[in-house]
């Protein structure tokens, strides 16, 4: 296989309070992959995404991204920081935290402007993303007046305008209505078809096989419990039960009356 885009070697992270978030994580992510990070609440999925985005730094172990070590020191280098930020986009779970500008247009322009693109390029990217995600009627609106689904779309638009090669999604479907969820799943697939690497943290098992080829399962002990092809992981009921991604009810449904009724712990 090709050189990995991200390589985590024995990464450990503790919260400032001393609680463990991640323990001994070894993981490689390759170009063009669709990876799902699965795990119950508090298993460390979001922390792992933040480490991959260079927002948190492992206390031990290392992260190598695009062939360079990512640390506070290397990200302090302006050229590397710009190159890294241009390559990795992060869609936060809380859209309100991500939408900090006073209008949708400015929100989408923020990334490209910070990364020093020329005015014409910024305008063309913003307008392009607006047209692609059909946000034209929202572009002058302040983000706090948008619905949950609209906020998520704008948050995604604000990351796409950077044109990252890797997209990190944190619980992207949580709180979205079924139609918006469907839209999002389709978008993730389209982006992946265009060559983008997609890493999605979720516990929504229903969408996993559509947004990922490979699943990385985090256990409640904050270690990687399993990695493998999505069908393989989703088929391993004992594993899913052990990491608290499904409950016995689900188990019974599947084995008892044979009809699949998926629900994970929210």
């Amino acid at each position: 296989m090709a050189e990995p885009l991200f390589q985590l070697n024995n990464v450990t992270y503790h919260y400032p309070t001393g609680e463990t978030a991640l323990e001994g994580i070894d993981l490689s992510i390759y170009k063009g992959e669709k990876v799902a990070l699965l795990g119950a609440n508090g298993s460390g999925k979001s922390t792992l995404l933040k480490i991959l985005d260079g927002l948190l730094f492992p206390q031990s172990g290392s992260l190598i991204a695009f062939g360079e070590t990512v640390s506070e020191q290397t990200l302090g280098n302006e050229a590397f920081s710009f190159a890294f930020r241009r390559r990795v986009g992060f869609v936060f779970q809380n859209s309100d935290a991500q939408l900090f500008n006073s209008s949708v247009w400015d929100e989408i322009a923020f990334g490209p402007v910070q990364l020093g693109l020329e005015r014409e390029e910024v305008v063309s990217r913003v307008e392009g993303v607006i047209a692609m995600l059909e946000l034209d009627h929202l572009k002058n609106r302040p983000p706090f007046k948008l619905s949950g689904g609209e906020k998520k779309k704008v948050a995604i638009a604000s990351v796409l305008s950077i044109n990252p090669m890797v997209l990190l999604f944190d619980e992207p479907t949580s709180g979205l209505d079924p139609r918006t969820q469907r839209w999002l799943v389709n978008l993730i697939r389209t982006l992946n078809d265009a060559g983008k690497t997609i890493i999605t943290a979720t516990h929504d098992l229903e969408i996993v096989d559509q947004i990922a080829d490979r699943a990385v399962v985090l256990g409640e002990d904050h270690r990687i419990a399993a990695t493998g092809a999505v069908e393989e992981v989703l088929g391993d009921m004992d594993l899913l039960l052990r990491v608290n991604l499904i409950d016995e009810e689900f188990h019974r449904h599947l084995h008892g009356d044979g009809h699949k009724h998926v629900h994970a712990h929210g």
Binding site: A97, F100, N101, D106, Q114, R119, P142, P143, E248
Partner: protein, 316 residues
Amino acid sequence: MKQTTLPEWLREAPGPLPPIAGNRQRRRRKSFVEKTVEEFARVMQEEFYAEKIARSPGLLQEIHPGAKVLTTLLLIGVAVSLRSWPVLFFVNLWVLLLVYLSAIRPAAFLKRVWLVVPLFTGVIILPSLFNYVLPGTPLLVLINFGHPVHLGPWTFPGYLAITRQGVAGGLIFILRVGACVSLALLLTLTTSWPALLKAFRLLFVPQIFIAVLEMTYRYIYVLLLTVSDMFAARQSRTVGRTSTSEQQRFISGAMGSLWTKAFNLSEEVHAAMLSRGYTGQPHTLTSLQMRQLDWFWTAFTVIISLITLWGDRLLG
């Protein structure tokens, strides 16, 4: 999976509702919490109203915020320097015409300006109406003492009167304040807050200052909604009336909880900014792309200002 067992009391259903008709109890007074929830809703509504006007088609809405800020400042400068009341009256009429052309209901606009201005400026100018403060030709004698009044080392005229000069000065002052308030209100009503903030860049307001204001505007509503939810959740669990001290305890608890939430949110926002390339120095796209209409409007305002100043010199 372990089955949850409900305690006995949780299985009980409430009895029938008490009759409402014929219940002669006094109407319940609204609690502080309820009033606060309503007030939040009102603030949000006000913002929606302003935003709706700023987005509806009208003359001033079409003009570039930068041009609008500059011309408004010019017109306010002119209004402040006017000394003749007919000219000031004309300026007020002119603003009203703009209100009409900008799709704002004149009645609502007049109410906003003229219910407030006379009240506040009235208090300021009240003393200057009387001859004891500002000597002048009496217009209406209120008390006639028949002899000069001595008050300590001061000697006052033998009558207390409202003077012609006092009234004229007061009238000019009210018209002047009214014109300035109207102009400022017109600017804020026809310009969305974000656009207005951007326009301030043209006045050399530092970028970091504008960025802070923009973020404040953005998050005040997130936090307002959070507070509103906290209050509503509390209200939905309140049966009957609660004591003032109990309400005070709730407020202090809410303040603490809001602070923690705001702090966590700020950390997350900072991470989201870093993730998109923010390095501590905000970069922005500033542009003053004046179109023909903006130039026309600016030129027109300058001409109107010159005519007004000339008229004032003629009449003043």
